[in-house]
Amino acid sequence: MTHLAKLLSLAAALPLGTSLLLFAAPERLRRGVPYVPLAAVFVGLALAILSLAYQLNHSVASPVGIQSISMHWLSPIIVSGEPHAATPSGVEPLQQLGRLSFGIATDSIAVIFFVLILLLGVAIHIFSMGYLHPQRAGPLLYSLLSMLGFSLLAAVISSNLLEMIILWGIGALCIYLICEIATPRDAARRLGSSHFFLMLLLAGLSAVAGCAMLALHGSFAMLDLFNQEGHKSLGISLMQLVQTPTPSGLLHYHTHHLFWGFDWLNCSGLLFVVAAAGLSAQFPFQFWPAESVDAPAPFNAILQGAMVSGSGAFLLARVYPVLTLDVRLVLAIIGCTSLVTGLLVALVQSDLKKVLCWTSLAMSGFTFLFFGVGDYSAALLYALINTVAFAGLFLCAGSALNSTRGERDLRRLGGLARRIPITAGLSLIIVMVLTGTIYLAGGLAVPPGVTALYDYASAMRHYGWLLFWLPVCAWILLSVVLWRWWWLIFGGQTRNPGAGDIAGDSAKLTLPLLVVATLAVFISHPVVEIKTILARSAPEGMIAPIPQDAGHSIGLAVLANVKWAFVLGPIAIISVYAGGLALADKIRRFPGVNLLYMWLYRGMFFRELAETIIAGGAALAARMTSFVDRLLLSWVLMIMALGFRGIGLMLATLDARVTGPMTDPACLSVGNRAPRVLATKKDWRRIVLVIMLTALILGALMLYAHMAGW
């Protein structure tokens, strides 16, 4: 095992140990419990920073690719021996399934994500200690929090895709339970947490199916997707598999169809895209993040940061080599749709958490879009910034909620900058980073992937231009949405004067915010060179070939000036909301606009649609099946009972004819009752019927036997 793997596995094992320890602790224990996982995360962070230094040092000296070690205690013992193992092509399916084992694979992306998770873990732990009511924060909650930390850490260093999905599955279970335990209980919230868990499960199942398809033809081990010499080219096994000498052959891969014109590589890629879309709440799975708004703010930060922004992007980064051009187009369309719809819905929300939910999933649309158009490093950079920034914004929202005793309606907030100035300032910094404010946002000042986007859209026919213009419009809209959010919470005058005492900033709540805001600024800044590291790890030859003569002058002019989009947001918001909510209300009530407002306010009815189609369909099917089960049950029993009764009657009658009249058994117990002959006319009719039926069945059987040539 390499030094790097040792350090990372130790750092990941610490939360696991803490989790098991706390799971066994009695629930009444409260004092000192939060400090145990915090200490584990701190030690883990120190180890991870050491790993990062080692990795960076090593990558400067020589380009280090992915390194993998495996433990085969989990793998099936026999992978061959199928009676019909060979495919028509002569390749034995699942020949590489020996790689279905737990292990560690390390590269630059893994280490960066690892450190990021631990940094956010420290911030969220400290914030939780100041935010959660001690009644709800027992050993079980912290045990689950530690297990969640372990699963996320282990997932980013996992050596194969299936292992990564398994660990995310554990993480999803933990976050579901955390939300259930930590949230004040009422019936409405129940559905929400189930919804997001089921959506994460759908993503997991889709990814498992994708893995199975990959495994049938090759492997889903990281080493086979990215070869030993780094991400500079695709894995040798993968190229051999599709019989192409260059990576671009893989991009244009087409072979015999499975169904609807899709071949196995496209199918597998699409399944991974569905998985990533489920994880990152992209179109059409956009409804679930808004379902989790009732959970405490630190857990929203985990869900939106780790799950929505981070995990989907990380999955796409890992499966990137197997995504063909067709699949990438789907990815780009999904990203673009999510981006626009998410921001439009976020623009009209009045719940301070819902605005962030919809904005975060919209921003993940940028990640999908950039992956789709082939800008690998820009996509990953966006994922990292979104992870940090939205975790920070949710913590800010938590701080605001803490100071207003849980008021979530933006229309009743306002003027909090005077009460919690540090939180207001730090949230403003994060908003400015996300909206690409020049000098502060560094690498984000111009959306990093926008050039690739322009080239890709220019090369597309028909409606391809939408893939450039919609994101550019969305970039301006983002500024409006985030500035609106900030202004309605912190700017202007308070709109709820009767709120009474308002709590100020506290150290436990502001210190994590400071950490996250600093991280958000530095991660996007060119000084840190994260983009350079990410660009170095991008697979070579995976960018779609773009014709050079494509393009037009208006697009180029927009591209040159898009960096000034951040100015439009504050101007628009101050002009609408400077005088309070009156102007906004007037616009909202305008005929036509009010309908659009309602449609967007309800999240375009995504949730209702999903509930009607999936939950309604399942409930209907369940009722019908249950009805059939009952019917079947009674029918089978009735037929069996009738059959036995018929045989019994027949035998009893025959017996009576041979040995004389049979008495009713009931008479034996009563004693004095007159004996009754069983075989009445009615009985005889019944017996004849039974005999005829039996003869009919036997005759049919004999006829069948004769025809079958027995």
Partner: protein, 531 residues
């Protein structure tokens, strides 16, 4: 040629121990309940100890070429029927025996303090466990059928005598279906015996599993018969006989009633034990003997299994009673076992075995959780429960593991079984049945079947989460404030399955697959010759 390695009477001791124990319990006065209870537990611990001693004597690394059955004992029992008392274990049955003795011990422990606790109850519990063990170690088909019928009768008696309000219906259904299963098995056995009559060295035919599976001439005859309708009929008879135990769809009608009406420890033993016996029978008898037929009917059986998965899952979704929900969940999950076996490849078989063991260990935990709730709330109606996480935090912790295992969560007992079954399914679909004359390709329907099986994991998670939320989440109800915490005995009953679930989830290869390797290889060798 049958080899006898380590001929021993330890398996006979294991079968006789419950019989002797029951006879001794008969002598104890009924009023001395404490003495009866501890005596019964001693018998069950003794059975566990004998099984462990057998496992210690067993050579787990015996090469397959030397014959796989050990600790054998054989003598002619009923000459007229050519029925032998023939017992022995291999790498498949030994772990199953250990599992069943452990289940019997858990059931015995769970019976302490039960309202139905009595001398009759304990005698029938011990006999049920003994009959199950007898079925697992039988190497004669007729003996196997006899033990399964004893299991059915003892189970029927205890349910009918000591069950709930609808105990007679539940007992009758269990008995009828069990009897039908035994009858199917008997008919199949007699036809096999008839077909092998007159062969060299076998003037009366044979019902000996070892001879049938290892004798090349017999296999040829059986496989030749497989081409005719007789072979197909025998295959379906045996398949039905064991699928009733598993249970498969349509043959499951006894299951919900047993789950609801039986005393909880008896339901734990009957449901988990019957599942093990059914799965074991398919792996031991049906598939090795009729691998040709199995290959011909593979698509049909797989589709039948997936219908079971869907049917059970949808029925579970419609339930409002915890115990009925568990019964339909078991039907759905047991259908995965059938699917794994029917797919007939290395991965799916390993998956089916993992799923079988995982289910056998998770079912008692779920039933016991339902029982502990019933003991306190006096009902198991999901619509009238809620908020128990706050009032019974310890039960909640155990239940998290049970319910998550039930939905096939990663790291717990059912996950790897299902993953391997699905991967095996994709392998089967990919390879199809190319090269096998007379076998239709299965790519398209096979893919659909697997996609449905995969999608059903969502439904399973849906109803399990729904049930868990209805029981434990939501606002705490004041009427449950008086609930007492879990007793030491209740925790012990839960702890053993929880440990098993975690062990199977974390190290399935070490716990199950590696010890079973020779048996799995033997099975795959039988499959390899098919077609």
């Amino acid at each position: 040629m049958v080899h006898f390695y380590g001929s021993s009477s330890i398996l006979t001791c294991l079968i006789l121990l419950p019989v002797i124990g029951s006879l001794m319990l008969l002598l104890v006065p009924s009023a001395k309940l404490r003495l009866i209870r501890w005596s019964a537990l001693t018998v069950l611990v003794g059975m566990l100890a004998v099984a462990v001693a057998g496992a210690c004597l067993f050579r787990w690394d015996m090469p397959v070429s030397h014959g796989v059955f050990q600790l054998q004992q054989k003598f002619l029992w009923i000459p007229a029927l050519n029925m032998h008392y023939f017992v022995g274990v291999d790498n498949l049955s030994m772990p199953a025996v250990l599992l069943v003795t452990l289940l019997a011990f858990i059931s015995g422990l769970a019976s302490f303090g039960l309202s139905q606790e009595s001398k009759t109850y304990y005698i029938l519990l011990i006999l049920t466990a003994g009959a199950l063990i007898g079925a697992l170690v039988s190497l004669d088909l007729l003996l196997l059928a006899v033990f399964l019928q004893i299991f059915t009768l003892s189970g029927y008696t205890v349910v009918s005598l000591l069950g709930g309000a609808r105990r007679h219906t539940a007992g009758l259904k269990f008995n009828l279906f069990g009897f039908a299963g035994t009858l199917a098995l008997l008919c199949g056995t007699l036809v096999i015996s008839h077909n092998t009559r007159g062969l060299p060295g076998l003037p009366q035919g044979t019902m000996d599993i070892v001879t049938l599976t290892t004798h090349p001439q017999l296999l040829r005859i059986l496989n030749a018969a497989a081409g005719s309708h007789i072979g197909a009929i025998v295959f379906w008879l045996l398949l039905t006989g064991f699928a009733i135990r598993l249970p498969g769809i349509i043959l499951h009608l006894w299951l919900p009633e047993i789950s609801v009406e039986s005393p909880a420890p008896i339901a734990m033993l009957i449901m988990a034990g019957s599942l093990v016996a059914g799965g074991y029978g398919l792996l031991r008898v049906v598939y090795p003997l009729f691998s040709d037929q199995a290959l011909i009917y593979r698509p049909l059986i797989c589709e039948f299994a997936v219908i079971g998965v869907v049917y059970g899952g949808l029925c579970a979704l419609a339930q409002t009673d915890i115990k009925r929900l568990i019964a339909y969940w078991l039907l759905s999950q047991a259908s995965y076992v059938l699917l794994g076996i029917a797919l007939m490849n290395a991965l799916s078989i390993q998956g089916a075995i993992l799923q079988l063991f995982g289910l056998a260990i998770a079912t008692p935990l779920l039933l016991w959780v339902a029982h502990t709730i019933e003991q306190r709330a006096h009902h198991t109606d999901l619509s009238r429960l809620g908020g128990l996480a706050a009032q019974l935090p310890d039960l909640f912790r155990f239940s998290i593991i049970g319910f998550f295992a039930a939905m096939g969560a990663p790291g717990l007992s059912l996950f790897f079984g299902q993953v391997l079954i699905l991967f095996g399914g994709f392998t089967a679909v990919s390879s199809g049945a190319a090269g096998s004359p007379g076998i239709a390709p299965w790519q398209h329907t096979g893919l659909l079947v697997l996609v449905i099986a995969l999608a059903m994991a969502m439904v399973t998670a849906g109803y399990i989460l729904w049930a868990m939320e209805r029981i434990f989440m939501g606002p705490a109800r004041p009427e449950f404030n008086h609930f007492i915490r879990l007793s030491f005995q209740e925790r012990c009953v839960m702890l053993l399955p929880v440990m098993g679930i975690i062990a199977l989830g974390i190290a399935p290869t070490i716990v199950v697959l590696t010890p079973m390797r020779p048996a799995i290889e033997q099975l795959l060798r039988a499959f390899a010759g098919a077609g």
